[in-house]
Amino acid sequence: MLSGPATAREASGVTLLEVEDLRVSFNTPDGVVQAVRGVSYHIEAGQTLGIVGESGSGKSVSTQTIMGLTRGALVSGRAMFEGQDLLTASPDQMRAIRGAKIGMVFQDPLSSLHPYYKVGWQIIEMIKLHDREISKDEAEKRAVELLRLVGIPQPDRRVNDYPHQFSGGMRQRAMIAMAMALNPALLIADEPTTALDVTVQAQVLRVIRRMQEVFGTAVILITHDLGVIADVADDVLVMYGGKVMERADRRTLFFASHHPYTEGLLQSMPAYGGERGRLRPIAGQPPSLLAPPPGCPFAPRCVYVMDRCRQEEPPLDPAGEEPGHLSACWLPHIAADREAIRRRVANVELAKSAGPAGA
């Protein structure tokens, strides 16, 4: 019923990365911050997994930890990639994986590129580091090809430019070229377009998508923008308070979501082309991860909250009719039952807002 149009890419069915019960915490002067609290997910080869969440939801920390980039953090759990647990891999093993097998693109390309070195040099260095036999000319030729591939005009000349001579969108494309230089099986893009204008964002997203089509790379795309998710993701992971709230394919998430947090997020967005009524924000603030509330982290802001939610933590269980649709919520899994509760809550809200006016 909810099977997408033919444009959806076929997932290969081969699990590329499997994360199990990942927990990350940091010691700070204020106490222990539990940034990620038991996150499990998997991504198949060639698939695009979107991770969406607000500031402090743990979406960036979880992937950075997998790449071994959170020094000083207390980490537990497993992250299996090609039969190897990335969380226990030695620094040497990680160095061979980072870049060569898992590429990364970050939000701010200016701070990811070294300002003193030419863009081309930085790509060449990356290639030579992993391929000691390649000649300098060959490496440079490959750098030029990569820049051409991501749509940098006159790549044979621009390869000798410094990062400040590139525009924001070109820098981000150069970063993608660098991340793809060794043809990794997985690309992790952490808010790759957040700092860019919409027209440039569209260019960069298209580059990522085409890269994926040509190379068959799997992509983990971390973003706070549900519009970007709707554009490019196959499957979506919704994170909140260091936990996964819901996982669903793109269409199920937007049209038949289960978790109230997902519902709240979708309702907070101004509708595109729809009615311009009042927005329905989620009341309150995200929880403090120094002392996360017991039970469901979203309970204090949830309109459907029940007593059980404040005590027992809901497991990430199958929800709804779609296979692979998971939700961590105590609400009934049958859509009709849920709808009845939704209607009841909506009526209560309506009565509440009408109350003072009528008095």
Binding site: G4, P5, E54, S55, D92, Q93, A96, K101, H130, D131, R142, R148, L149, V150, G151, I152, P153, P155, S167, G168, M170, M180, A181, L182, N183, A185, D197, V198, T199, V200, Q201, A202, Q203, L205, R206, V207, R210, M211, V214, F215, D225, L226, G227, V228, A230, D231, R251, F254, L265, S268, P270, A271, Y272, G273, R276, R278, P281, I282, A283, Q285
Partner: protein
């Protein structure tokens, strides 16, 4: 209505009296250049053409949106209106009074009526001062209300914007991002201004918090009859809050239209491309729509292109676009509320992707051969893919 048509050399005869004028703000041919250093002995002064001949009118009690990409001049325009920058030429008429050349001293009473809310709620609040005294600043500066009277007024404001008045003595760091933005709103509201210029007020906030602030701004507008100039790069937010929207590109207004009209029937190809690039939070719509991906980047505002500034990237560009600058006027039978600066405006149902520019290659930005941007990159791209190492080959421990 004279919406954005002040292209004549002599400005229109004396602006209408404040009474009966439904425009709170009129801007006529506003120009703001920033000088930059030239090189050489007889250095010629170069300028960044930040705002280059902008004319528009903002009706009372409405929200006027301004959208455009980084460097299009929207923030400079806002700062010129608030007289934070002196303008190079042109006129700003606020509430029937020409404020373009007012001295700082004579500007002072007007500052109460024009307020700004900034993007970064942390950067615009002094971390060492208590929130109560920050919000009370306007009263202190203008010498109105002191002591317990000031405290009462500030606490009323705090309550009005949804802050707990008991937090009067807290520091900005003790508030979350959304609450800090409410502090900024409270401060702007102190004197019940007529005009509030919101420069990216919700860009730094999370979606759920962003919606809270947008609703607050809407409530305040209804209660106090405020007029907003709302600047943002997020088009769906601007559409949600605005009555009419101006689109800017490289210092020029390219199109002004009622909010819904701009989204359903954009006339300027730049508006069309900009709108098509907005990610839509709806998988069905985003699969259906055809994205127009513009080639290249925005040109330098130091030496902007001739004629229509969008011509190097425009799919419809023709020789006339290179030679003549299109005036901002209603096109294809549109009403005076919907002017566009384009020689070849888009008709209804027209698809930008069907067009190819009819100007020579050195006049436009050309995409690279073999790049992945065009949809049909096929064979060449695969050839390049073959040149790369097979998976895993590069990773030698």
């Amino acid at each position: 209505m004279a919406t954005g048509q002040a292209r004549e050399t002599s400005p229109a005869p004396a602006t209408a009296a404040p009474d009966g004028d439904d425009m709170l703000l009129r801007i006529e041919s506003l120009v703001k250049y920033f000088p930059i250093k030239g090189t050489g002995l007889f250095r010629e002064k170069e300028h960044v053409h930040a705002v280059d001949g902008v004319s528009l009118s903002v009706p009372r009690g409405q929200t006027f949106g301004v959208v455009g990409e980084t460097g299009c001049g929207k923030s400079t325009l806002a700062r010129c209106i608030a007289r934070l920058h002196d303008v190079t030429s042109g006129r700003i008429v606020f509430d029937g009074q020409d404020i373009t050349k007012l001295s700082q001293r004579r500007m002072r009473p007007l500052r109460r009526e024009i307020q700004m809310i900034f993007q970064d709620p942390i950067g615009s609040l002094n971390p060492r001062r208590r929130v109560g005294s920050i919000i009370g600043d306007p009263y202190a500066i203008h010498g109105l209300a002191a002591g317990s009277e000031r405290k009462r007024l500030v606490q009323e404001l705090m309550e009005r914007v949804g802050l707990n008045p008991e937090h009067y003595n807290r520091f900005p760091a003790e508030f979350s991002g959304g609450q800090r933005q409410r502090i900024g709103v409270a401060r702007a509201l102190a004197f019940r201004p007529k005009l509030i210029i919101c420069d990216e007020p919700v860009s730094a906030l999370d979606v759920s918090i962003q919606a809270q602030v947008i609703n607050l701004l809407a409530d305040l507008q209804a209660d106090f009859g405020l007029t907003y100039i709302f600047i943002a790069h997020d088009l769906s937010v601007v559409r949600h809050v605005s009555n009419s929207i101006a689109v800017m590109y490289l210092g020029k207004v390219t199109e002004i239209a009622p909010a819904d009209k701009l989204f359903t029937l954009p006339r300027h190809p730049y508006s069309g491309a900009l709108l098509s690039a907005v990610p839509v939070p709806n998988p069905d719509l985003s699969d259906q729509r055809q994205q127009i991906i513009l080639a290249g980047d925005v040109p330098s505002p130091i030496a902007p292109p001739s004629g229509c500034r969008f011509h190097p990237r425009c799919p419809k560009a023709a020789p006339v676009c290179v030679s003549d600058e299109p005036p901002l006027e209603p096109r294809l039978g549109d009403g005076p509320e919907h002017p566009a600066a384009c020689h070849l405006p888009m008709a209804e149902g027209e698809n930008l992707a069907d067009f190819r520019p009819s100007i020579s290659e050195d006049e436009r930005v050309v995409e690279v051969e073999g790049s992945l941007l065009p949809d049909d990159a096929g064979p060449e791209a695969t050839a390049i893919a073959d040149a790369l190492p097979a998976r895993g080959e590069g990773g030698k421990p």
